[in-house]
Amino acid sequence: MIFKNYLLIGILFISLSNTAQKAIKIKPTKHVFVSVPEPSDICYDSKTDTFFIVSDAGGLFETDKDCKVLRKKPQDGADFEAVSSDGTFVYAVDESNRTIYKYDIQTLQLIKKFVIPYNGARNKGYESFDFDKARNRYVLITESNPAILFELDTDFKVTNQTDISAIAKDISSARFHDGFLWLLSDEDMMLIKLNPTTYEVLQKWSLPVINPEGLAFDKEGNMLISCDDMQRVYYFNNPEKK
């Protein structure tokens, strides 16, 4: 009798969980294994037509479109979690040391380091970083508890901050693409499209991949998502193309 009661309570809780709002499900077209240990973020550079991937172990890697490693930069940081490039420089963000590393894209030589203090938990620090060309600013986002979106000017001075914790349980990557801000959530396994100025959520897609940590769009607008635990990069068609 007692077991029956537990079973009924369990079924009740599970049925409650099914009332959550459903996002659109999308599936990858293919995936590749990537020779980067613990790949934590990926970005596309249109000038070099290559991708840059950073690793939890602190390394920076350049790859071709099939994610074959072309160049690698020996470990500089302790825990790289975000990467962005602008055709001239590549920026890698160290989560636990709260530091942005600026590299020359041609030589991968370290140009400068910027420490942006943040007092949140060590593994809940900066996880996402990208340049917003339309507004000439950077965004730097903490992972969770809380997820804070910092707007930085081109001297890496914080000009504004917004708590976006309500959007998802965590934010693992951010990318400006096609006039919108796109976010990735690892824990919710979700892709989220936002208005780039109001940060209003416009659309959500659910992703059937474990531990999605990095987000990039290639020159055709197709989407690549890097997954830390699987050490893979998944390829998706542009989610807005029918």
Partner: protein, 392 residues
Amino acid sequence: MKKYIFLLLVILSINSSFAQFVISNGQSSMELSSNFSGFYNYRVMKPGEVDDSKDRFKLRDAQIGIDGHIGKDFEYSFKADIADMAANTITNVIDPENPGLLNANVTYKGFKFMEVEMGYGKLYYSRNSMVPLENSAYWQAAEITRGSVFSVRDIGVTLKKNFWHQRANAYLGAYTGLGELSLAGDNDPSGKLEYIGRFDVSFPCRYRYTEIDERHTPIPMFQFGVAGRYADKKLPPGTAFPANATSTYGLKVIDGERYVYGFDASFQYMGFSAQFEIHQMHSRPQNPNDPLFQNYTLNQTNGYILSGGYIAQINYYVKNIRTILSARYEELDLNDLVIGSARRFSPAIGYKLKGYNNAMVKFQYFNILRDESIDPQDFKQQFRLGFQFQLK
């Protein structure tokens, strides 16, 4: 006691005035964390039992942690529980399983082929004991893995290595072998160490040491582990172990040789998760009159006793209401020379409060389905309801 309270207040005031969890200089960082929890405990006693002292409120945890890294090569971890220290001070009795220090160790990562951890902390033997209890809905671990049958913390050196893109982990270490009592500073008169090894492998990707699938993993994930430990602590004539070293069941350290073997398996998929863990202890006391032999002769026992047990646990994480549902069944046979074993069933619920993922209301129910005759309990059921708050 006053000192501990003062220290706690100072640290809390630092936290609240600066809302500060991490201090970083761009090369190194140091993180402050804490964990507070307390519960109300109610027991349904067996007929004839009159001691209701366990119907109580209890401050379970008042922990302060400092973790960090120095550059790329050093990591350190310190964690103390002021609730345990205060209890030990008030009662003037040091609880050997809860001395107040939880972690004090340094890991060196400078060798490319392995990491070396030195100091005091959790032992890499049982997966169940390696998973922090504060991440589960439970207030109390299963009997076999909570530190009374074999130790779960000790002082020593551990070599750590992962393979196959972190899907496999290997640990090998040497420790004092006295568990939490090793903090007293001396070994027992045998002067021998305990050696522990563990190897686990997961598929299809790295599987962290967790029990709850909060992410609702879209692909089934598995992990299997094997572990073993060995100690030869034959005491010289006329000597004895330090007080409380052998613990409640007289098994934690024995006057003789002891082998322990364990196997564990874990699974998670779409919010469901399950764990199974089994251990067997092969104890060879050197003295034929050792109480562990239960007055049987050497011919009857062949000079050894077996002990062991298993835990089977299932969980589901209800994501949109942030609730953990768990149920655990455990069996423990303390001595194969005594007929029977203890069986317990324990479901639990953990509800994470909206707005802060690290604040949780937890409820655990214990039902003692059967006692082992050499370890009779005075209660039949227990209810434990409380609140846990972590700053991290």
